[in-house]
Amino acid sequence: MIDSTMNGIAGTDNPILTLDNVTKSFGPVAVIKGVTVNVYPGKVQVLLGENGAGKSTLIKMMAGVYQPDGGRILVDGKEARLPDTNASEALGIATIHQELNLVGSMTVAENICMGRFPRRFGLVDRRKMREVAKKALGMIGLDIDVDHKVGELGIARQQLVEIAKALSLNARMLILDEPTAALTKREISALFSVVQDLRERGVGMVFISHHLDEIAAIGDSVSVLRDGEFVAEVPADTHEDELVRLMVGRSIEQQFPRRREYDGPADTLLEVEGLSTKGMINNVSFSVKAGEIVGLAGLVGAGRTEVIRAIAGVDPYASGSVRVRGRQLPKSSVGAAIRAGVGHVPEDRKAHGLVLGAPVNENIGYATLSTTAKTGLVDRTGQRKRAEDVADKLRIRMHNLDQVVGSLSGGNQQKTVFARWIVANSSVLLLDEPTRGVDVGAKVEIYELMNAITAAGGAVVMVSSELPEVLGMSDRVLVMSGGHISGELSADNATQDAVMTLAVRDVQRDLEDKLMEDGHE
């Protein structure tokens, strides 16, 4: 299990921070079982593992949110206790969370100086505050107006503001928790050049990402975790297949196991005709047959999510029609869409897909509560039985059905959303970024689920920003650009180049830049 090559990687410098053989349990569940990680100045230490492997718990220990039950934390070689986040911040350790800690309604300068506003005669010294902020932004070469409201910036820039804030607090170690998850390609490369600068300044970094290709681009060394255990430490240029093998404990034969097993009649299940909304989508028409997966590709902001939401009855549309099995759906009625057999896995499962504080059982049952009810009373035994069966079938890893869904890993949360529609017998599934923030193992399980749905005669529409996924799983690819469909490609003709050509075809150059710079759907 342990084939550490740590000595080969470690530089001559001493580590800023060491987690030495730490353990952590929540109740009876051991989530970290003896893990050692070193963070060196000027190096990027990647933490790699599936969701639930223990990465978040480890970084929370580094940040002082959790305290290890066993083992030691060393800072500059001396044993340290980090009872809270203030203690770690005082030692120069800062965390850039996925959910940024910024106040959107306040300015960049105010956010950077939050909690330590410079004062003059007891009043806020705005001039000084702007200076501090400009200096901080200068450290990462970010040129934006410090009087701009943070909420008006795109996610990518907000993230950079947060990094600048950390640096102005004299951070010498940054923990970057999936910083690229919500960024476009161009934004990612901007972030990586900032990381490169920081590395040269001697800042130590911990980097978490589910994108294996980013590891070689930005990392120095990779600590691989599995089920809370330390598996190996390998150089960042290790081949992706090997990383996957270490992470999931088995090799993945095929990343996109698309199989076409449906041999029933090719009925058209979903027909969208002339769909238009005010401003966003323009005359979108397509249809999906039983047993088919149709990929919806395009740049962020091309209108893919809007199409999905209009079909699902979430948002109203100005003109056009949506038919399921030949029957027209009324506009903006989620209930009618569900009754017609439409299931919608939204882009942001935490905000739109799940009631995080409610049990798995309840989350699976929401769409079927009223249809299975007798005289307004919940069919409690039936709902539980169905939830149990589907959770078993989808292998949702949990303690029991009463566990709150927010405490599951990303992949299992996503499977819970799928489970809802399987229980509802949905035959038309609208999947919006179905594998976002999901680990490699669970991704394959979700692909297999899509295979099973289509094999049973269902139809799938999948929006994804990961081109390999679109190309690997779709039977046909529709490319959207500037709010309408700019082209259709068969599975055989769909290549990255062909898709990208169509994706930018109708977008004016400057508009495209704007979308890639600031846009997020």
Binding site: H352, G357, G376, H399, V404, S407, R420
Partner: protein
Amino acid sequence: MNKVATAAAPKKARGGSQIGRFLADNGALVGLFVLGLALFIATPDFLTGPNLLNIGIQASVIAVLAFGLTFVIVAAGIDLSVGSVAALSAMGSAWIFSQGSMPGWIALIGGLAIGALSGAVSGFAVAYGRLPSFIATLAMLSIARGLTLVISEGRPIGTAPEVSFLGGDLGVIPMPIIVLVVAGLVAAFILNFTVMGRYMYAVGGNKEAARLSGVPVRKVLVTVFALSGLFAGLAGLLLSGRLDSAQPQAAVGYELDAIAAVVIGGASLAGGIGRISGTLVGALVLVVIRNGLNLLNVSSFWQQVVIGLVIAVAVGIDSLRRKNQPH
């Protein structure tokens, strides 16, 4: 009662014995028990039949108001109007009987209908008018109180005998206690066993996710406020039944006691969490403290200070406990 309602709370994925978990999840109940024990030791007057019945009667109005409010708070709303709606329902009922010369049972049902209708109006304002529930019910607080004064012209009106019956006794058991128990069972049943009840938790937990799962969010919102109004109407009738007259200034400020009872009972103002059993315990905690301090001859001025501290401590302990759980 407690057994019925425990299913509502998402069980925590933690270890420990069943008993330990039960105690941790029912902090207010433990507090109530400790409080009772302390008062039992401090004064011989506490644990007597008449005093306990007295506590039950005193708790009934607050608890019934708080049961209704629990629906709203579970659905992530707030209802500030319950005290005023209680007064309006009682006054409306008395008016129907005395001025409208209707039979007493129509006056009783009329009072409940006025409550439900007032709540439904707030609900419509929240669901379709997109008013924050704080604002919509603040408006209703003023409107309902104003209407109470208008129809009564500022004077008390005698209640129908059917309403007075709610304030009387059935054998040795006071009617308010029976009403309290029945109302609690009905409320717990709605929350746990009806589709609408489960929808309330979903809407309170994540409105958008609920909508995308096909939950009729606006219908749920109108329903919770209508139920809150209905329960407030019942509380108003209880209150006026005990006095045999509807008072224009009845139940002023009761909404604050009701909110306190719900949050002491472990509900979260952020929505998605709350149980009727907890709310009942919360109401009993408030009443037992008042009763105990009265028995111990503590001035009513100091009682308010103590109640305030209890609210802060109870909710503080609860949020600390939640914070210590992973995620």
